[in-house]
Amino acid sequence: MVPAMAEAAAIAAESLAGGRARAARTVLDQVVLPGEELLLPEQEDAEGPGGAGERPLRLNPGARSRVRVVCGPGLRRCGDRLLVTKCGRLRHKEAGCGGGVYWVDSQQKRYVPVKGDHVIGIVTAKSGDIFKVDVGGSEPASLSYLAFEGATKRNRPNVQVGDLIYGQFVVANKDMEPEMVCIDSCGRANGMGVIGQDGLLFKVTLGLIRK
């Protein structure tokens, strides 16, 4: 039952192939490659609420409790370790509760829709009650005509094929078609909606946008 993290770190320091697991905090801000496994830091056993010297009774006395860590983009959980799936620099951010977030900063050109992201899309088709908007992902996102500020069944928004729309994703996961809306949770547009005729559209890299 000894995780032997120090030992693992020492072994891994000599191995260049990266096949052995290393402690995540020793690899922060370094380049990681797919296939590497990272060990998570473990929590110290907290003192019980009964006072000094008492420990909470555990059902499984041998196992140590682990800090709750969020696994961000580029990492997958496998067992109690993190598996790196993309190339890039490993980053960490402390959160208020738990161990924080780990993720891999990778340079990528292809956009994958994520819930909550604000995007600019081009309307490609109008079919019945929904518009299909090209957002640069693998599928066009769907946008209902009622998802605009002040839109009702009688008062349809004036959106044509080829217009630019600024909206945010409400549904974006790997199993379903992404859906976007042009209103926020209070029903206000907040800058979202059809973008006017003047202006230019530029494609920039994802790294610049994330900064």
Binding site: A17, Q107, V112, S138, K174, T205, G207
Partner: protein, 235 residues
């Protein structure tokens, strides 16, 4: 952002297996790799081994036709174009081998109902072509940010008539060899992902070639790591 980052790495290695059948001075040819050199694909890489050079481009995860979509994972396509002439049966067979290797490694379950396309163009062929194609495909997949469970590399061995083993053979050595074996190995534990062989060899020789290829693959993975580190150190 930055343009293509050319990376040269001279790696001459003694692969160091200790069997008596091995000839002296087994070494891999000079490697070079350049990433992100094409502007339209999502990921691209050019891999050189000696005079063999392959350019790879990866598009994905992108739209897929409804007739070809798989409900729970990504559809992987590989297209290999020879340097001259139209693609023939040999290219189709290599495409299938490369596709099987990539499917074992790419996490397709994260992008169901999409397609990931790898396009390979042979720029120069001076032996060990399939291994060079595998290396270029791996570097291009990494450049595109396709999620993978491990890296992979290709290593070719040639056995000549007196039983000596040559790694990374040139075209002339391949032609004169009694057997040519190509292996695809993964980066985590150097496990075998794909093997294709041509010619006559014994069981013991197969094991020796596999061991030599596993040792050589360490150098290829170290080269991958250095080239990726150099790329990220410039950003």
């Amino acid at each position: 952002m930055e343009g293509p980052v050319p990376i040269e790495a001279q790696i001459r290695t003694e692969t160091g297996a200790e069997s008596g059948l091995r000839g002296p001075g087994c070494s891999l040819r000079h490697f070079a790799c350049e990433q992100n050199l094409l502007s339209r694909p999502d990921g691209s890489a050019s891999f050189l081994q000696g005079d063999t050079s392959v350019l790879a481009g990866v598009y994905g995860p992108a739209e897929v036709k409804v007739s070809r979509e798989i409900f729970n994972k990504a559809t992987l396509d590989v297209v290999l174009r020879p340097k001259i002439g139209l693609p023939g049966v040999a290219e189709k067979s290599r495409e299938r081998l490369i596709r099987n290797t990539c499917e074992a490694v790419v996490l397709g379950a994260l992008h169901p109902r999409t397609s990931i396309t790898v396009v390979l163009q042979v720029v120069g062929n001076a032996g060990s072509l399939l291994a060079c194609c595998l290396n270029a495909a791996c570097m291009a997949l990494v450049d595109a940010g396709v999620p993978m469970r491990a890296l992979f590399c290709g290593v070719t061995c040639a056995l000549d008539s007196d039983g000596s083993l040559v790694l990374d053979p040139t075209a002339k050595q391949e032609k004169e060899a009694r057997a040519v074996l190509t292996f695809a190995l993964d980066s985590v534990e150097q496990k075998l992902l794909m093997a294709t062989t041509k010619g006559l060899y014994s069981d013991a020789e197969l094991q020796q070639c596999l061991a030599a290829a596993q040792a050589a693959s360490q150098h290829v993975f170290r080269f991958y790591r250095e080239s990726v580190q150099r790329r990220y150190s410039k950003s």
